[in-house]
């Protein structure tokens, strides 16, 4: 049976070793380039011939745009629209990364915690900086619940700090785990189809079909969850309740 985790193997396509860092162009980079290229192509095709009554590509691009814009307006408010370009980029990158991973043979770069971790850490650092810029040292007040008895501070403050610091981890682990688990599950079940033969293989085949649909759904859902949590964190930093 094929190795179910072999699909996550990073393979250099254009080796480029600079001694200290390995800057090879890998299959992961290729998948990222696909995702970026596809989102750029979508918006290029969507905005090439603008009309009041949108065509197919234009309405697709508009749908993406409005989906993210509404998400920010609902979760962050008007001030959040300053960060709209970043959040739209983030959404498209994760969304197309997840979806392109469903193309057989293509690499799923969101199944690597290095990638999701880098995205989440960037968001975490950016949100923290935004919070400190907007509220100054007062941003630290959010670590102590307003109105709680001062005696509870030694317990509450570490708890709040831990839950703040756990954000980048939960953000990255969630996306990474979902994508990895889904792809391994598909591979293992598909292996059962082969090893059980013509008659017995029908049951796992049905499961594979169902899970493939589920995986498409999860690909979209996890991109959405990733971005909406970014919005929630941004809202926290901007408004502090």
């Amino acid at each position: 049976m094929a190795d179910p985790v072999k699909q996550f193997q990073i393979e250099p396509i254009v080796p480029l070793d600079l001694g200290i860092v390995d800057l090879s162009f890998t299959n992961s980079s290729l998948a990222m380039a696909f995702a970026v290229g596809l989102s750029a192509a979508l918006f290029y095709a969507g905005t090439r011939r603008l009309s009041l009554v949108p065509g197919r590509m234009q309405s697709l691009a508009e749908m993406m745009y409005e989906f993210v814009a509404n998400m920010i307006r609902d979760n962050v408010g008007k001030e959040g629209m300053r960060y709209f370009p970043f959040i739209l980029t983030l959404f498209l990158f994760v969304f197309f990364g997840n979806l392109l991973g469903m193309v057989p043979g293509n690499f799923t770069f969101t199944s690597h915690i290095v990638v999701t971790g880098a995205l989440a850490l960037f968001i975490f650092v950016a949100v923290t900086i935004i919070g400190f810029i907007r509220h100054g040292i007062g941003y630290l007040r959010m670590f102590f619940p307003h109105g709680a008895p001062i005696a509870t501070a030694p317990i509450l403050i570490p708890i709040e700090i831990i839950s703040y610091l756990s954000r980048p981890f939960s953000l990255s682990v969630r996306l990474f785990a979902n994508m990895t688990v889904g792809h391994i599950m598909l591979k293992v079940l598909a292996g059962f189809v082969v090893s059980l033969g013509l008659l017995g293989g029908i049951v796992p085949l049905a499961a594979v079909v169902g899970i493939t649909v589920l995986e498409f759904f999860i690909a979209a859902l996890q991109a959405y969850v990733f971005v909406i949590l970014t919005c929630i964190y941004l809202n926290d930093a901007i408004h502090m309740h």
Binding site: L52, F144, H146, I159, E160, Y164, S166, R174, D236
Partner: protein
């Protein structure tokens, strides 16, 4: 320009007609809204499970690093493991209660209480006891 304005007014007219044809029941949720709701439930479950695991791990990690720094192994790690567990539970609590994912549970509860009080008068409870929030949330 005038042509564009004409088209725009025609579009407005069309929009009005569509709204009229749709009838007053615009906010009512049809039966086909079931699938997104299930998706949201799955997302919620995923969030909760990850939250519980991650906060414990982060707490233990902080404790471990503090131990390595201060040379107090293993005490701080044990303390922070439990604090991480507490943070996980409080995170799950705020996710389930729809208090966003914000840091500052008391603050979030207060904000929600204010929202509730503003939205539906009568359900807002007296904000005197901050400690135990469990049963009085609607």
């Amino acid at each position: 320009m005038a042509d564009d304005r004409d088209r725009r007014s025609a579009l407005d007219d069309l929009e009005q007609r569509i709204r009229a044809a749709r009838g007053p029941d615009k906010t009512g949720r049809g039966p086909d809204d079931d699938a997104p709701a299930r998706g949201a439930g799955m997302g919620l479950g995923m969030r909760i499970s990850v939250e519980l695991v991650v906060t414990v791990a982060v707490g233990a990690g902080i404790g471990y690093m503090l131990d390595a720094w201060l040379g107090t192994a293993p005490w701080l790690m044990i303390v922070f493991l439990f604090l991480g567990g507490a943070a996980g539970v409080s995170n799950v609590y705020r996710v389930v209660q729809g208090l966003d994912d914000s840091v500052g549970l008391g603050r979030a509860i207060e904000a929600k209480r204010r929202r509730d009080a503003a939205g539906t008068p009568g359900t807002g409870t007296a904000p005197n006891d901050k400690g135990d929030e469990g049963p009085d949330r609607g």
